[in-house]
């Protein structure tokens, strides 16, 4: 018997128009934490779906413990000892933890035994979880524990984790890593999918890097610098954003005691948020998803109105103004959801340029639209932000995530905002595009604009922001200078969900 658990040989999977995986060969050793590293669209998901039996390869073969392995469906994969924690959880809010876990098992034990087993596993691996709690009331980190415990109850030989840390606070990440290391020491192999280089260097023994469906290299991440890994992943070298020292100017946007009720049942109410932001300043707002990020953006963009006196731009009360009136005084926004909020999927880039550029770029006069000017504006965005598309007549949804995000950010930046608010500006964007977007935000601040960056990516906030605050259940307790702030302090500010261990 070899010391390899799973080996993949020449796995290829093509979809119409794109080869998702092209002749991918590597092996995962027993008790090894193996990273699968790649940009969005590099083929990581397709590859793990093949291992988990969700997708069948066009060609190539797999062996598990030296036996041929061709899972026809996930159930077969689970029976062979392969378990997977997905990025998006599949849990029922209205049911308890134990009920949710029972639903995912082939032959669930009696409820009382199951609850006992859940307690046992959660204690063994340091994952505190009450089996009788309703899932709806759990934090993202706790939900992930439900998924992990569901997998662990099946004693997997290989645990696949797809971008597990994207929803966690730093403290929760530490707990997760501790669990994974413990699993590793017990001989469980882990296939860890991520694009966060520091995590991979800290946790993983081996890394396989995918680019455009092909394997680039298998290496030991601890021996490489984050920069080398990034360049292997992207294929080219790219400039890291450069920050300059900036002098802060006058207060441009002043938010005082902003409280807005949630617009729907699943929304978060904003509570008593106050800050001032000056010209040339970048304000970073962190926090775990679902703590009011979207609500804060729409309150600033004017999609939801705020009571009078709470939002002032250059001293002018704009709380009751709509989006276009706010644009005219220089407050621009770029929401998180690219398709369907920041841009209309089926409309062309020209039409999407018209969407928010109408007033400030003079694309409308007397209610009449000037399409040739809008086309010029769209082409200007495409050219200055290196948006890869055949032309401005193409539909927004035909662009890749990174390109559309560059378009969306570029559309606002090129309107010379006084205040720009962006939510998750580089979410799901490849490293090169993310660097370009961050650079654009820094440049904008250098030119004297105030920039508010709402993001769940702490590295991003640390890289570009001057001051930091964290959203927690719709509140921001305080803003502190970013310089000198430790990851632990940031985690505590984020509400410390999961630190009650």
């Amino acid at each position: 018997m070899s010391d390899q658990l799973l080996s993949l040989t020449g796995l290829t999977k093509a979809y119409p128009g794109v080869v998702a995986n092209d002749d991918v060969t590597f092996a995962i050793g027993k008790g090894e934490v193996h990273a699968l590293l790649g940009e969005n669209g590099a083929g990581k998901s397709t590859l793990v779906k093949m291992i988990y039996g969700l997708v069948k390869p066009d060609s190539g073969s797999m062996t598990l413990n030296d036996q041929p392995y061709h899972p026809q469906e996930p159930r077969q994969a689970r029976a062979s000892g392969v378990a997977m924690v997905f990025q998006h959880f599949s849990l029922f809010d209205a049911m308890s933890v134990a009920e949710n876990i029972a639903l995912g098992m082939e032959r669930p034990p009696a409820p009382r035994d199951l609850a006992h087993q859940i307690r046992e596993v959660s204690q063994t691996y340091g994952l505190p979880l009450d089996p009788h709690k309703t899932v709806g009331g759990l934090s993202a980190g706790e939900r992930q524990r439900v998924e992990i415990i569901r997998c662990l109850l099946q004693n997997p030989k290989l645990l696949i984790m797809d971008e597990p840390t994207s929803v966690l606070t730093p403290q929760e990440v530490e707990i997760l890593f501790k669990t994974l290391r413990q699993l590793k020491s017990e001989g469980t192999s882990i296939l860890y999918i991520s694009h966060k280089l520091d995590e991979i260097r800290a946790l993983c023994d081996t890394a396989t890097i995918l680019r455009l469906g092909k394997k680039v290299d298998t290496c030991t991440p601890a021996e490489k610098s984050a920069r080398e890994l990034a360049e292997m992943m992207v294929g080219t070298s790219f400039a890291s954003p450069q920050r300059q020292d900036r002098d802060l100017g006058q207060v441009l946007l002043s938010v005082s005691g902003l409280s807005v009720a949630a617009t729907d049942a699943f929304g978060t109410a904003l509570r008593d948020i106050s800050f001032d932001i000056r010209a040339g300043e970048i304000l970073g707002i962190g926090g775990v998803a679902g703590n009011g990020q979207d609500e804060l953006l729409t309150a600033l963009s004017g999609e939801t109105r705020a009571p009078t006196g709470m939002i002032k731009i250059k001293g002018q009360d704009i709380g009751q103004w709509g989006p276009n009136a706010r644009r005219e005084v220089g407050l621009l926004c770029a929401p998180e959801e690219r398709l369907g909020h920041a841009a209309a999927p089926n409309l062309s880039l020209t039409e999407n340029a018209m969407m928010t550029g109408a007033a400030r770029r003079g694309l409308v006069s007397g209610g009449l639209l000037n399409w040739s000017k809008a086309r010029d504006f769209a082409q200007e965005i495409i050219a200055s932000f290196d948006v890869r598309t055949p032309g401005s007549q193409n539909a927004a949804r035909s662009l890749s995530g990174g390109n559309l995000q560059k378009f969306v950010i570029g559309r606002e930046v090129l309107q010379n905002p006084d205040v720009l608010v962006v939510n998750q500006p580089t979410w799901g964007v490849d490293a090169a595009a993310a660097a370009a977007i961050r650079q654009a935000l820094l440049d904008l601040a250098n030119q004297g604009a105030a920039v508010i960056v709402i993001s769940q990516d702490l590295d991003e906030l640390i890289e570009i922001s001057d001051r930091f605050g964290a959203l927690n259940e719709g509140r921001i307790e305080k803003f502190v200078p970013m310089a000198g702030l430790s990851i632990d302090e940031i985690g505590l500010m984020m509400g410390g969900a999961g630190t009650d261990v």
Binding site: V55, P345, N346, V364, R397, S398
Partner: protein, 362 residues
Amino acid sequence: MIRLEKRKQTSRFWTYVTPILAVVLTMIFGGVLFAILGKDPVLAIKTIFWDPVFGEFAFYYRPEVLKKAAPLILIAIGLSYGFKAGIWNIGAEGQYIIGAICAAGVALAFYPMEGRWFIFPLMIVAGVLGGMIWAMVPALLRVYFKTNEILVSLMLVYVADVLIKAFSIGLMRNPDGHGFPGSRNLNDYSSAANLELIAGTGLHWGVIAAMGVVVASYAILARHQFGFHVRLTGESPRAAGFAGVNANRLIMVCFLISGGLAGVAGMFEVSGPAAQILGSFPSAYGFTAIIVAFLGRLNPIGILLAGLLLALTYVGGGAAETAMNIPSATIQIFQGMLLFVLLSVDVLTNYRLRWAAKAGGV
């Protein structure tokens, strides 16, 4: 096995081809239907679609097609705004009826005073306002109470239907009509009559209005901010909100436009081809216009063509009824089938068909 695969972009080619494909398929299915009824399918299709325009009696049928197309186009253009924005006014028939009642009310109030220069325009205004008021009911209920505009607008059709029956035997009954139901004949009242402007052409003010609305609507959708906001709302309501579109105001404006145009269509009909308020006045134009709007791809030029085609099915259907003894309900089946087939083949605009041995997971 056939598999559907989403296109990256909406296919321009199929956007224009599917309506034609739908018409052809409907003719084939219709032919099968006629064959089952024991009629010669080719002759039936020819009688309905060919003879009214190119046959021996085309001089009689062509003006009829135009007269029937005018209200269909007017109403369908109005509906197209809401439909584009995802606002479903299904009750154009009711707005059409109320427009007719209001316009006839103005005419009858002034009867027998002479003064076409102000009575006829006033009737137009009354028709528009009548339709708008009827359309505002579902619009306001939707905006302020989040009711479903489909249900409310549809229900109001039946209220309007009862109202016109009541008016025809009550308030508006012709005092010189020997007790028969129905109002005075407006074609006989020169200040209110909407007659052919050039005899034998079918061209009345409603036709001119329909053509004007087609042109204006084309300009608004292509060039005006309102048209853009309508499309944006239909494509993505959240993106529209982000772009500064006030969703509630848009709902009301779309209902006002569709109600106003349906109302004015009722005005031209009651003062022209129908000639009077009568229980049998409702002719389902308001429902057929929904088919016209979709068959015309919610595009003004498309609606113009679709309106003419659907008018042809009315006229040709009538001809087939007399000439070939085909039941009159057949033509309604035909129209329904057309919408059904159109919506089915519409899949092709956003998806492509793939023949695959077996679909893998995605």
